[in-house]
């Protein structure tokens, strides 16, 4: 399928997702703009509660009350997903965008064999019914792509290890050849060696399909290993977006700087300093830059004016008054 005129598979423009609460709306995602090019792997990082998962759910139109999309656009190859009917969106999901959830392995149906679960996803989203044998071959092929033995096809989820279950979910996510795979903390429940195998598998699958990947997570190490471009979210807004190498080598936003300098590493034997303070409450956010109460460089302007996300140099944008 064609991508948008500018070669972008996904464009998110000024996306705002709020949650209704008794104390007023919680601005979980507040004016987020980014795009993903064809074949690109884009990462979204931030502390828990920064809105990264909410943003992913909004892209898939999976926001449930009390959450609601307050505004913005989500373009998939030029089509605004927020304007589609529920039926059209249902068809889009899985066939054009697929999702690998956090702990997706626990979302497998415990009383269905692997084969039937994958077949279910295919049959539900494809118009033409397929003869069982063709379907069987396709599933076997999918499983071999993710490195599972063909006997896994007739196994139940409890017979598989965590890493194997997560690979079944990857196989399901690629079954219909989507343009975009959204992976939300796809390996956070796995052991380190298994994590590496699954992460490499995910990249392999993405490249094979020629798809794009939106990788959501808090593990900067994993992002560094996997993505091309990286966005850092703080309190519902994007603080900085750029090429992954320059994000790690020369982070501009003080939050990104603190984040990258507080990373645990097996190269360094000191306990990294955490970032002092806590993220703001999103019901009653502070005026100005949301990071100013924790920022070591906060100036008067930071307490008053919300900084815009602006391109600081080609391919690297930052929302900070220092620049």
């Amino acid at each position: 399928m064609a991508q948008g005129a500018n070669g972008r598979v996904l464009e998110v423009e000024n996306l705002r997702v709020y949650y209704r609460t008794a104390a007023g709306p919680v601005r979980a995602v507040d004016g987020v703009t980014f795009w993903i090019n064809k074949g690109e792997r884009f990462g979204l990082v931030g502390e828990s509660g920064c809105g990264k998962t909410t943003a992913a759910n909004a892209i898939l139109r999976l926001i449930r009350p009390p959450g609601y999309v307050q505004g913005g656009r989500v373009l998939l190859s030029g089509t605004d997903l927020l304007g589609l009917s529920d039926e059209q969106m249902r068809e889009t999901r899985w066939s054009r965008i697929s999702l690998i959830m956090q702990g997706a392995m626990n979302s497998l149906n415990p009383i269905m064999r692997v084969k039937d679960q994958i077949a279910d996803a295919i049959v539900q989203h494809e118009d033409q019914p397929q003869p069982p044998r063709v379907l069987d071959d396709r599933i076997r092929n999918l499983l071999s792509v993710v490195g599972l033995p063909s006997r896994a096809i007739s196994m139940f989820p409890h017979e598989l290890s965590g890493g194997m279950k997560q690979r079944v979910c990857i196989a399901m996510a690629m079954a219909l050849g989507p343009q975009l795979i959204i992976a939300d903390e796809p390996t956070s429940a796995l052991d380190v060696v298994v994590q590496r195998v699954v992460a490499q598998m995910l990249v392999d699958v993405e490249e094979r399909l020629g798809a794009s990947l939106l990788l959501i997570g808090h593990d900067m190490g994993l992002q560094a290993q996997l993505v091309h471009r990286l966005g850092v979210m703080y309190a519902g807004k994007l603080a900085e977006v750029g090429d992954v190498k320059s994000m790690f080598k020369q982070p501009r936003h003080p939050y990104t700087q603190l984040l990258t300098s507080s990373l645990p590493s097996i190269k360094r034997r000191t306990v990294p300093k955490g970032i002092p303070g806590l993220p703001p409450t999103l019901v009653d956010p502070p005026p100005g830059c949301l990071f100013h109460p924790r920022c070591p460089f906060a100036k008067a302007v930071c307490r008053e004016v919300v900084p815009e996300l602006r391109e600081h140099e080609p391919g690297h944008a930052v929302a900070c008054h220092l620049y």
């Binding site: 052991d191 994590q195 590496r196 190490g221 790690f248 507080s262």
Partner: protein, 336 residues
């Protein structure tokens, strides 16, 4: 020399499953460890899921009985203690667990878990004194008592909940705290705070830690010694700097090579293959447990379990690659 705080001697634990056709699953095999009373230390037990690290924690705490071997507290076998000794043991050896939410009863205020400790171990003679020592303990951990006391568990952040748990463990001023994955459920910045708390308790209050984790980076940052467990056996152990920077066992090398480095310029080298788990467990009997996955596997590895060889001043690896080195003193006993 005083008796070690905890001495674990050749500890094994096998779980049996099945009613008719009984199957044994060896969760921990011949594990030994000494936590010296001379100076406070942080010892890491690292391993992936299924390596037996939580079984070890439960054995040390006396929550389950070993199949063979002993756990000695202050020189006394924890399973042959008098009632008074057992109370002392549980006062002096405290624990912190992974999920700070599960420990709380959601219907009680946070104070409840702290009051219980004060009551159980008779730490205070009256209510005012009880309040006082609870406030002091919270302050040591950098919590403001007024922000925490009187709240319900759901009103605290994950980081606060976990630090209250550290405060709870610290209240009876134990000699050892066993921390089972204490930071795996909190954010990076809070993780740093909790690790700092642990270091502070070690430095200022002379408390030793057994730190159980799957995360080698934090283990490297805070511990003195490390044990790498694989399928219930010790693959490698010794000084943490030696083990992390100069790993000898192929399994440790694989583990360390798989930690994603937060630097896009340093990428994972090569690919790894994961054999099906049941195969790994099956062939482990009477052989090196890692043989099926080992890139350096030799014939010997498939026929004999490797003993532990000394590969450095305080560095030991259970691998035949080092069979020209001396055997580790205590493991020499079991070579048939």
């Amino acid at each position: 020399m005083p008796a070690p705080v905890i001495e674990v001697k050749h500890l094994s634990k096998a779980f049996t499953r099945g009613l008719v056709k009984k199957q044994q699953l060896v969760a921990l095999e011949d594990f030994s460890l000494t936590i010296s009373a001379d100076h406070p230390t942080i010892t890491t037990i690292a391993g992936e899921s299924g390596s037996g690290k939580t079984t070890l924690a439960r054995l040390i705490l006396g929550l389950i009985t070993p199949t063979s071997g002993q756990v000695l507290f202050d020189g006394r076998d924890v399973w042959r203690m008098s009632k008074d000794e057992w109370v002392t043991f549980h006062k002096e050896v405290q624990a912190i667990f992974q999920d700070p939410f599960e420990v709380y009863n959601p219907f009680y205020r946070v104070d409840h878990v702290l009051d219980l400790v004060v009551d159980n171990f008779k730490l205070a003679s009256n209510g005012t004194q009880a309040k006082q020592i609870i406030r002091e303990a919270l302050e040591v951990l950098g919590l403001r008592p007024d922000e925490v006391l009187g709240k319900f568990p759901h009103q605290l952040s994950g980081g606060q909940r976990q630090r209250v748990m550290v405060a709870r463990a610290f209240l009876p001023k134990p000699r050892l705290i066993l921390a089972d994955e204490p930071v795996s459920m909190v954010d990076a910045s809070l993780r740093a705070l909790i690790l700092e708390n642990m270091l502070r308790l070690q430095r200022d209050f002379g408390i030793s830690f057994v730190y159980i984790t799957h995360d080698l980076s934090t283990a490297y940052q805070i511990s003195d010694d490390i044990y790498i467990l694989y399928l219930g056996g010790v693959a490698e152990h010794g000084d943490v700097h030696e083990v992390i920077q100069n790993p000898k066992h192929p399994y440790t090398q694989l583990l360390i090579g798989s930690v994603p480095v937060p630097d896009p310029e340093v990428t994972w080298a090569g690919t790894v293959d994961l054999p099906p788990e049941e195969e790994v467990r099956e062939q482990a009997a009477g052989a090196c447990k890692f043989a099926r996955r080992c890139p350096h596997v030799k014939d010997t590895c498939r026929r004999n379990p490797p003993p532990s060889y000394q590969v450095g001043p305080n560095h030991y690896a259970a691998c035949f690659l080092y069979q020209d080195r001396p055997l580790e003193a205590s493991s020499g006993l079991r070579i048939g």
